[in-house]
Subunit: 337 residues, 4 copies
């Protein structure tokens, strides 16, 4: 960590600041005095120092962090890729994870039909929303516990592990048989939820918030990992920008950047990112090409009658065609599909 | 709501779409056929229609909403300003609400000292965080129930009503004696939390999310109001943009725009918006000048030793000076302070 | 175009508005009267109507455009892909265009060495900056006319057509022998420059501005095309967002979206988008996978000694390896390389 | 400037880097070796070093600038406020500058009528566009030289100095009698234009680009000042964000921040920022309250018939009322109006 001092900061004040910092232990401060500005370089364990607190000092002009503030998620300290095991399948290894299913679980007929179709096409996991975060209180909010029951029904029939979103820790008991718990973009910094999920033993699919940096995403993963749960899967699903042609802007550069910063697996959600069904396939190809470990895709047997997000759902037939088109691309990237 | 049809959409499909929409009841569809494009205008109660679901139809090019999707928060249907009563004081009337206090409650000595100081300067409410949303799991997370007890202690001594942030519905019982419950920016779309707060009888201070539009803010207010709780206070606290000179970009234009769209009171948080102590006063002046109903300001008796957000906290002396400088501005705007 | 009228707008005023619009010719107005709001649907040639001007009317609440405001760039009116011929090569056909070269032309030795190297690896065009847009007036600004002479020298030796950026119409004569003129991101809405380039007969490589929508990019292309020059090549080079891990955020979803909206070819600049050398290859793969017509890549024989943008430049050896790795990907996408 | 070195960077390579930097002269490098990372602190004149070039080195992880890259615009080196003299009036002193007039000059009748009206209300300068940057080539582009002639006519009649926008250096001769030359937001980084304006002796009104940081704005001012022209007036006119309720987001926090960073005067354009006529007055009040040196406001005698930007223009009557309402606010801020 580097502390840039104000011009003409009194020597005594600087020394007091250094004393205070070194009192935290395991930190050594080195001072460089320049004509126009002086700096203090901190060497050691700076993870417990908050930049803003240092910046509150009267003699400090700015504080800049050198080391990443996350540890357990940091590739520097864990060079090998994390592979998350989910039933018979895994996320983060050489296989390309394909998670498919409807935005919302609507009925047994619907979820089983979609599950059977996507399994036949090669999907490795089933997604489906039981609790739905909707901007409007007047929109369909999901089938809740019934939705989870129907997902488990579909799992029993197809054998596909299931992923579904949690919106409140109060519902955690309903997720006992769920294979992967999803934290949605709007809850990426719902820290109380993250802490609780750190104490459970299930893999967590953590989606990047609409306006969250990659560092913040990793800090949220760190919340879960610090609680003891190392099975975190990151998901980029589009960020909010000024562009309105697509619902969000899919940041595919997040994939190689995250691969460098962390050992956790990364998947891409092209459905929510673009919000348009016909864009799913080209962006899915792009995701595989930049090195994503998998995809999560909305598939609905009747998109025009979907209770939510029909605009971005593809049909089982389109998913089947997508899978066939992705296979050579996956192979090229050294992935099995 | 207006539906723009695709070129050469088959007449039969268009009719099917219209039938489906009109089946929802209380909606009439009018079709305008043009050379290059045709549109359907929907008249009636379109609040239950989801644009994206219509947009999923094969014959639809785009859907545009004409009416606001919020009702209870909408000034069109409630022309008079809402005034929220909090103990002896109120928010949204002719008075200018001044909420002041530390980012975090740290000790009885600290919170009582700050409370007494800001009361003397004219603050109408006391703020202080007991549960703190921190980006890092390694940062100070607040004193939790002890923090709330200390706030109540400070209230007993000063008579100032207290505002403090809730981070999980699991903690709701601890808030029984709190006067105003704050929903932080990161939880603005924590819909399960909003729903629960709709069932409680306390005023809710709802902060705008870092990347949320004013319409989304009003939809989140609508969640609370739809549950039966009409006492919602909106708070603009800076949005995330590309600019890095300030922590966030304070959107003061939100004040007159929200005043037009809704009847709910609006306050400004210049401390979190800019993240810099010396910017609090000029931006507080700006907030009053554009018509805000109040301010929420971080005050700490020793900013350099604050356990969080010291960089943006002002001292009790600076707050006292701010109050004196704000008085003529408030008067000019027809506000008592 | 759809005009949403204010509640209780006087009938007489509405009629006056309609008269004014229909007076422009070739436009028919249809009015739909609803309980809470009424709309006017305009059918015909609305390209000359400015939304904001209509929105200034006292009786208008909002105006929404249905048809795209661009015509010559619009795929609806020109379904076939435009293929831009540049010397022996072309952009936008089945071949994948590979433009490579240094950020700045620095010396004959440098530009010839890079040109020979990238040609050997399979590049189809040479890039190099003679006029450099730099944020700081104290940074190296390019070799100007000497830079162009050196590019022409490299062209003579290698046969590679050259692309270089124009920053002012005052320099146009210096570009007489340049093959493709580049308009940089910062000049995307330098409309006077665009108008002048509309009168020249050279292909124009038009880069998307840092904060410009795809529609604005197409409107800038329309400026050039309206002047008579149909040879416009679009280039996505990263947009400005809140994320700081990469210099900009590369918007690969722009490729399929632009392919749908326009018939013009689209290339990707991964070097400027990410600003980091090791990210060029993965993002180049992603670009090909989403359907880009080509890439423009910074290659420098000694990135550590580059006079600008060394951080994002790759070596000739890295470019050669990139080309080999891209070939099977290009083939998979039905492109020759 | 601080250079963060990669872990395990070879000592020899670090020494080579330091040698290269010190060879630039007037720079001393101090190295701090830590366990996990080492840093080099550069002390001296680092304004000619480009961060990205250093960052290209194999041994460098990151580079962080400590000192601002602008000098002539920097308040540190010029503590006193710059006051720009324009005819009998000045910008940046104790007076509040009020620039008013139509978006476009449309006719002699129009510009003279508006000029006389705004003068009577107390405006100190007249604005009006002769060259108009329009997104669409099919929109009205301004009256060009005739427009400037009409402005000069209005100046002769009213005595108001005139401000008008330049879009190309090719038109500079037409601006011989113009009092202040405006550089629009889209040309803020048209560096060739800025360089030329650095050689002229007229005050330049430099608008912040839609997605430009305050540092970039100051670097563009530096371009003009480095050429010899110290009379630069900065203008905040709204930045591009995700919010769509207003055309842009007016960043009023830019005023106090710029006041700290630079000695140049700063004015606010509430008309372009919000794009809505009724928002001009509240945001103008806010601008004065945060300490702006002036305002530039669009006034049109018939907004509904304006050839551009009618939606955001206010009538002369509304401007007169605005002036009366602003006076006590200006007085409160110690400004004469």
């Amino acid at each position: 960590m580097i502390i840039i001092l104000k011009n003409n900061a009194p020597k005594q004040e600087i020394e007091k600041l250094i004393e205070g910092i070194e009192a935290l232990g395991n930190i050594t401060a080195n001072t460089i005095i320049g004509e126009h500005s002086s700096i203090i370089g901190l060497v050691g364990d700076t993870s417990r120092i908050n930049e803003d607190d240092i910046a509150a000092s009267d003699v400090v002009e700015a504080v800049k962090r050198v080391q990443e503030p996350y540890k357990m998620a940091n590739r520097k300290f864990h060079p090998d890729d994390t592979v998350v095991q989910v039933g018979d399948t895994s996320i983060g290894g050489t296989g390309l994870t394909m998670i498919a299913g409807p935005c919302s679980v609507e009925s047994e007929e619907q979820i089983v039909a979609v599950a059977e179709a996507v399994k036949k096409s090669g999907a490795t996991m089933l997604r489906g929303g039981a609790f739905k975060p909707r901007t409007s209180p007047y929109s369909f909010q999901g089938l809740h516990d019934t939705g989870i029951q129907l997902l488990l029904e579909a799992k029993k029939i197809t054998g596909l592990p299931i992923v579904t979103e949690i919106m409140s820790i109060a519902h955690i008991d309903l997720f006992a048989d769920v294979d992967v718990i999803q934290v949605g973009a709007r809850n990426m910094q719902n820290f109380e939820l993250l802490k609780e999920l750190g104490h459970c033993d299930k893999p967590i699919l953590l989606k990047r918030g609409l306006a969250n940096t990659l560092e913040e995403l990793l800090m949220s993963a760190e919340y879960i990992m610090a609680g003891g749960n190392q099975n975190v899967i990151l998901c980029e699903r589009g960020i909010r920008t000024f562009e309105t042609a697509t619902r969000n802007t899919l940041d595919l550069s997040a994939v190689p950047m995250l691969k460098r910063l962390t050992h956790l697996p990364i998947i891409i959600d092209p459905s929510h990112a673009c919000g348009i069904a016909w864009m799913v396939e080209p962006m899915a190809r792009g995701a595989v090409a930049v090195g994503a470990d998998g995809l999560i895709i909305e598939v609905h047997n009747n998109p025009q009658k979907a209770l939510c997000d029909g605009k971005q759902s593809i049909t089982p037939a389109a998913f089947d065609s997508l899978m066939q088109n992705l296979r050579p691309m996956a192979q090229l990237m050294g992935r099995t599909l």
